[in-house]
Symmetry: C2
Subunit: 224 residues, 2 copies
Amino acid sequence: MMREIPGIPYRFDDPELLKLALTHRSADKVNNERLEFLGDSILSAAVTSRLYELKPDNNEGELSRLRTRVVRGDTLASLAAGLKLGDYIMLGEGEMKSGGFNRDSILADALEAVFGAIYLDGGYTSCAAAILHVCEPVIASLPSANELKDPKTRLQEWAQARGHALPVYTLESEEGPPHRKQFRVLCTLNDLDISVSGSGSSRQKAEQSSADATLKAVSDKSGK
Amino acid sequence: MMREIPGIPYRFDDPELLKLALTHRSADKVNNERLEFLGDSILSAAVTSRLYELKPDNNEGELSRLRTRVVRGDTLASLAAGLKLGDYIMLGEGEMKSGGFNRDSILADALEAVFGAIYLDGGYTSCAAAILHVCEPVIASLPSANELKDPKTRLQEWAQARGHALPVYTLESEEGPPHRKQFRVLCTLNDLDISVSGSGSSRQKAEQSSADATLKAVSDKSGK
């Protein structure tokens, strides 16, 4: 009976727990759904704790956005795929034929369930270490506090830091049928004589897009 | 400097952490918001783990609803009030004058921040023990797996277990103006010759209310 998954640094005392973690509900009434629920909460605690120490300059809103990037389904699914977790998951016949072992949600859920099983088998500290080992590549490539800010905020801070007037946003146009409107907004830095436009499916999105383009314009200028 | 809060079984090595946990954002730029974010995730993990072991018959959906009852804001606020946490929280002048130390969200957030501080000071195991000590009264009074089910589900299971025909729901009346409609539904157990009505602000609510009344009617009967 399997006691470990290559790539996850943990060896089970009780291999039944690992087996349960890899049993999808299509295969058995007794399956990994409760373990997944448990593992999800341990994953969140371990990642939160790591981000708290790694990112002293991020506030709680930023920490929350960073955490979401690590623990959301598509991230976990790609980590699970990297571990070839699909090779070990027990599925019912229907799911097997339809290629369920490659389905993102099944992979992500099974990874969380494996974390839940490690927690039950070896306690929080072992489990958090395994979680952080698996998630390390994602955590290492998270954006910095500043990159997390939206373009309008960054442009405003850029202007304030240099004593420039604040950017002004003007609606240039609003086109298309109600369900597919396109907005075009002009972002102007008056004392720099810079105006750059951006567009989007809402006025807010168009403003952000114009701020982003303006940031690029001013950094191109200052870069030369 | 304070090292513990009466009622929370933990003594801080680093009293600065406890102080930070009790500093509301109205009092200082360096405040308890990041600790609250951390504590929230440790609280959730500790409670999830406890419910997982206490409630082997609940599925993940039920565990999730149980967890929400423990960790939601009003529960935490009343636990914090029981600990007189408001007496220790540092608030800015404005919040102080408006009685902020009694505000639910400030109390709940500070309690989570204290948990976050315990985690940093003493690790997961100490923190989980403190959390479960504080939350024990709430966890002990959680409803059973069966009570968590809605009345229609319980009535259907009751009928199936005894080989009776399934309950039938009939709309009896629909009255009142659009924004304050009242529905009346009759729940019938045909082979038992039992019909009980219930009402509510939607058809679904009226059906649930009639199922609830029917459950009471059949348990009164069988109880005598």
